[in-house]
Each structure stands twice: as structure tokens, then as C-alpha cells.
């Protein structure tokens, strides 16, 4: 019975301003207890990356973030030699006839090694939190490379040799499903799917993130967002958009939504011009649905 620890995690997240759900806390809890990587998937803007950040903060550990992109390779993820320094060093040595072997040992030593996120994470003294963001954007080759690191916890650098992990970082991978991840990577991870939040959860998030917000306004914003997400949009807005919008409206000291203000600030929520046009055309109907229309009359 480890209910206590589970509660602790929930509280920890809450203290950091992250409104979680039981199943999210459970996944985090198991990932930590079993020392397994956690793969978080879900639509854009539901707080996947945030999980890694909050976790590092709550545990008081260093967050090492690796943002993935197409073409990411080991020189960006693992290590690279500091060529400029090496060149400089070589030039300074000049013609002083030094032993080449000795020289090689010098310029391929720790001093000239640039540690990139993955190497940094495993050579850290304390267990760090390694956040590998948007893994599905990286190429398959990188995925298999990562697999090797994650299973053996060691890295081989030709000039130096094998570097073993001094500590196993807590790994969190996030993905948007732009590409299907390989089965073998999935099998090594604990899986968590985060969806758009329910109304109550979103409201709680808004109230935590924008403490000064008018109660009624917060409610209306969340109702409107929920209705918006039910529409067929190119880019469905996430929680981050809700928070941005709530912040903007709170800064304008609004106490409720009306048609004009929604129209004027729609760009905060929707990032696709066709979506904006589409929503603008059906705005009255949408506001009516969320019960906001009475304010206009």
C-alpha cells in the first residue's frame, strides 16, 4: 500500500501549480519508483512538457531538456568536441615539437569535450530529470540511438572510450504523434496519454495560473474553450491558449465575455486564419451555446 507516496506526488505537483489528475500522478509515481522512462503523448498544449519541468522543480533536481527536431544527431544530443578550442590549443603549441600522441590525449580530453544534454544527464552527480521533448520530430535513427542509451546507460566516444552513467536520470519523453514511434521505444516506456481537460480541471488550472481572474470570467472562458474544441478546427487550442487568453482578459479587467471582446482577442486563442474566420462566422451561435449571450442583450 503506497497510497501515501501517491498523494505526496499529487500534492507536490499541486504545489508547483500543476493541476493533475489521479491517473497522471499514478504514471509519474510508477515511472519514478520503477526508474522507467515515461512517454507522454497527447494533443498540442495540454501540458506534456510542463510535466517534466514541474517534476524537476518538485524534486529539486536539475532539468536537462533536449528539444528534438528533424536532423537532430548525436553531436547535438550527446557530445561534440570543442573544435575552436582544439584549434586554438594546437596553434598555441605551434612548432614546439611535442609528441603527437601526448598532444592527442590532451586535446581529446574532458577539457575539450562539450557535453550535450544526454551525456550531461548521465554524468550528473545527482539524478537529473531528462526531458526529451517532441521525440517524434527526430528521425528514426535518433530514436534507435536513444534506445541504446536508455537501455545500457552508457555512451561510447571513440577518442575516449566508454562513459558509464554515474546516475540514472528520470527520463520523460513527449510526443505529438506527428510520426509513429517505434514499438521498441514504446515497450521500454511507461505510457501516459493526456487529453484536453474537462471543464472543471481547466477552470482549476485557469484559477491557479491567473489568480486574479474574475470568477465569472474564468468560468465563461472555460465554457467557451470547451465549445470551441468541439468544433472542427484546423488547430484545436490547448490549455496554454486558455491561460494566455485568461491572462489577457484579466489584464484588461474584464468581468465577463462579450461578442466584441471575443472577436478582438480571438487571435490569442486561434492560430490559424481559417479557424478564426470560421469561428467569427459562428460566434453568436457559439456564445449562445456557452450561455454567454445573455450578457450582450
Amino acid at each position: 500500500m503506497k497510497n501515501k507516496e501517491l498523494d505526496q506526488i499529487s500534492n507536490m505537483l499541486k504545489e508547483q501549480g500543476y493541476i493533475s489528475e489521479d491517473h497522471i500522478a499514478m504514471s509519474l509515481f510508477l515511472a519514478m519508483e520503477l526508474h522507467m522512462p515515461l512517454l507522454v503523448e497527447g494533443p498540442a498544449g495540454v501540458g506534456k512538457t510542463e510535466i517534466g519541468k514541474v517534476m524537476a522543480k518538485a524534486l529539486g533536481r536539475e532539468l536537462i531538456r533536449l528539444q528534438c527536431y528533424e536532423g537532430l544527431d548525436s553531436t547535438h544530443a550527446l557530445y561534440e568536441w570543442n573544435y575552436q578550442y582544439q584549434l586554438l590549443y594546437l596553434q598555441m603549441q605551434g612548432s614546439g615539437n611535442k609528441d603527437i600522441k601526448e598532444l592527442e590525449e590532451t586535446i581529446f580530453s574532458d577539457k575539450f569535450l562539450l557535453k550535450r544534454p544526454v551525456l550531461r544527464a548521465i554524468t550528473q552527480k545527482d539524478n537529473a530529470v531528462l526531458l526529451i521533448d517532441e521525440i517524434d520530430r527526430a528521425d528514426e535513427e535518433f530514436e534507435s540511438f536513444l534506445l541504446e542509451v536508455l537501455s545500457d546507460w552508457q555512451v561510447t566516444i571513440p577518442e575516449i572510450g566508454t562513459i558509464r552513467a554515474t546516475s540514472k536520470p528520470q527520463v520523460i519523453l513527449t510526443g505529438n504523434r506527428t510520426r509513429d514511434l517505434s514499438e521498441s521505444l514504446r515497450r521500454r516506456c511507461i505510457y501516459l496519454w493526456i487529453d484536453y481537460p474537462e471543464f472543471e480541471k481547466e477552470l482549476a488550472i485557469v484559477r491557479t495560473k491567473v489568480p486574479g481572474i474574475d470568477r465569472q470570467l474564468g468560468k465563461e472562458i472555460c465554457l467557451f474553450m470547451a465549445a470551441l474544441r468541439r468544433m472542427k478546427l484546423e488547430k484545436i487550442p490547448g490549455i496554454s491558449e486558455t491561460i494566455d487568453w485568461a491572462r489577457a482578459l484579466a489584464a484588461m479587467h474584464m468581468s465577463h465575455l462579450d461578442k466584441k471582446i471575443v472577436e478582438d482577442t480571438l487571435g490569442v486563442v486561434l492560430k490559424d486564419w481559417q479557424d478564426i474566420r470560421h469561428v467569427r462566422d459562428t460566434l453568436s451561435e457559439l456564445l449562445e451555446k456557452t450561455g454567454v449571450i445573455s450578457k450582450i442583450g
Partner: protein
Amino acid sequence: MAKLPVTYQTTISGNVVLLCRFLRKRGFSLGAGEEAKALEALSWLPLTNEALFIYGLRTMLAKNRHQFKKFDEFYREFLEERSKAANSKKKEDTRESGGREMEARNRQDEFERLKNWLNLHQSGDAETIPSYSGQEVLTKKKFSDLDPDEMKLMMRLLSQLAHQITHRKSRLRKTSMNSRKLDLRRTIGSNLRKGTRIREFVFSEPKEKKLKIVLLADVSRSMELYSRFFIYLVYAFQNAHDRIETFVFSTALHQVSDILDNHDFDHAFRIISDKVPHWSGGTKIGSCFQEFVREFGYGLLDKKTIVFILSDGWDTGDPLAISGAMKSIHRQSRRVIWLNPLAGSPGFSPEAIGLKAALPHVDILAAAHNLESLKEAMLRIR
């Protein structure tokens, strides 16, 4: 379900193993490793709170969104089955035989449908197949008789296509005299070998990633209208790219790369027609693909290979064989692209049994009934 069906720790472990077995049947890919991890997780799960218990199992055992969302449902199903099994073994037996009967009936139905289809279509000519009407017939002449100019155009188009899809810039770099991008790593490496002085700079450019192509072309009766056109296509492909292997199939599979490589088109076409005894016969896509996987898969397919299948997907074999073979082709290759001449017609939906079975394992389904559609397909494949 207010409480868990079992009370002892050991029984819970046993049940989790059974659950894994149950989930495997539902398409979860759970190896011994995942099972062990799930059992390990058990000791951390709160046994008094069922919701949390299920969350824990779900996060351990589900590996993608579909499984994650369906997990609850599967879990309930599993519990039901368990309690049923416990209640009376007899009951389950009858249920199972009932299931078997159902299955048999389904098979019979499928067979009947297939038979009907065969009777319907074999009595008439190929042209009476509904999807062949309209624009397909209009362009028929064009397919069977490409004039030299069109042939040249197609050759050019295809060599473009082959080049485009098989030449990608790789992340790896190679030394280059023409590039202006200084490669410090190589500069230091090469200069250090000769002394401590930097005497020369080394430049580099991205290496090209070359992909291979495997073509599987259907030459059965239902493809008769197109097969000459397709052989053109295959021929052009074969000559546009040097890392390509071509097979034709109807009831059996034949490797024809050598023939296409070494002869002019008409000659090659004749040889292939002679060599393939069932030219324009019925189709056994499934068994042909299985043969392909068995005989050539290991050597030809890898993550640098794009597989093109040229077929309408009408099949007289077992659809299960197709989906099985397609699954392994898809798994072993980089991409599977199905070019279907029928996909060009306006009301097209993938109805052919073979195509339907294969569809889950196809990355791109594109039309290929004339040059125009081919060009379009090219754009999508990029």
C-alpha cells in the same frame, strides 16, 4: 465492480499474467519484459482503490493512445471473462463452441460473397467490372498504346520520381572540394596526423542517402487493361534507377529485373509474357506476397527500401494471407506505396478484398491510371 475479484497477492500476480495474455489477444504487444515490469509495479499499486489500481495497470501495459483509451473496456471484459470462467467451466465451453460456429458461419459468408463476385465478373469481360467504366475505358486506348513521345515523357517523369524519392540528404557529411562549409572535426583530425600545425582546411557537404526501390506489379486478368502500361512504368522505373528490383505476379511471383535491364521494351515485354505462364490469369496476391516475403524479404527489404505495389487489389486468394504478408512487408521496409489504377475513378473506395486486407499496412494509396495521376502521386510521395 466494488472490489477486486481476488484477495491474495499471489493470485493478483497470476491474474495480471492472465490479463497480459488476454491483452495480447487484443493486439497489445507485451513481451516477457513488460509483463515482469507490470508485476514489479504491482507492489506499488494501491489494492484498496480500484480506480488507481487500473490507472497503474493502464500506464504500465498500454503502449499507445488506442490501447490507453480502450484499456478500461478491455479490463472490464477481462474481469467478466474471468468470473464467467470461474462460475462454470462448462458455460464457457459452450460459449466458445458458439464462437467457433459464428466464425465458421462468417467464413462461409465470406466465401459465398467471393463466389458471387467471381460468378458475376468472370462471365463477362473485364470491361463489365463496374469500376472499369467511364473514364477508365476512355483512356484504355492510351494505356495500351503509348506513342514514342509519351513514352519518352514518361521515362523522364519516372526518372525524376525515382531520383526524388531515392535521393535524400543525409545527416552524415562527406568531405568535399566544392563545398564552402568548413569541417572543423575533419580539419583537426587530418592535420593532427601530419603534425601539430594546421596546414589545410577540410570542407564537407551532406552525404546523399540512397534508397532502394522494390516494385511488385500485378499482371493478372483484372489488370489486363493496365498491365502493358504498368510494364512500361516498371520498365521506365527500372531504367531510371540502379537500385531497383522488379517482380511481376498473378498466380505466382516472378523476378524480372534482369529482363527489363537488358532488353529494349518490346523485347522485354515479350520475354516476360512468355516467361510468366499465367499472364493475365487470376490473382493470388496473398500467396505471391507471402512468397516474396519468404524468398526475397530478408535480402531486399530494409529501412532504406521503398516498396511500390501496382495492383487493383482484386484477389481470389485468402485475404488473411494478404494482410499477414503486407504486415511483414510494411514492417521491414521504409514505406509501402500502393498504386492503384482504379483509385483514379471518382467514386472509388477501396472495396477489393485484397486491397481492403492490405490497406492497414499501406502508407500511401495513390491513383496511377495515366500520366497525370502519376504526376499527382509523385507530389504526394515526396
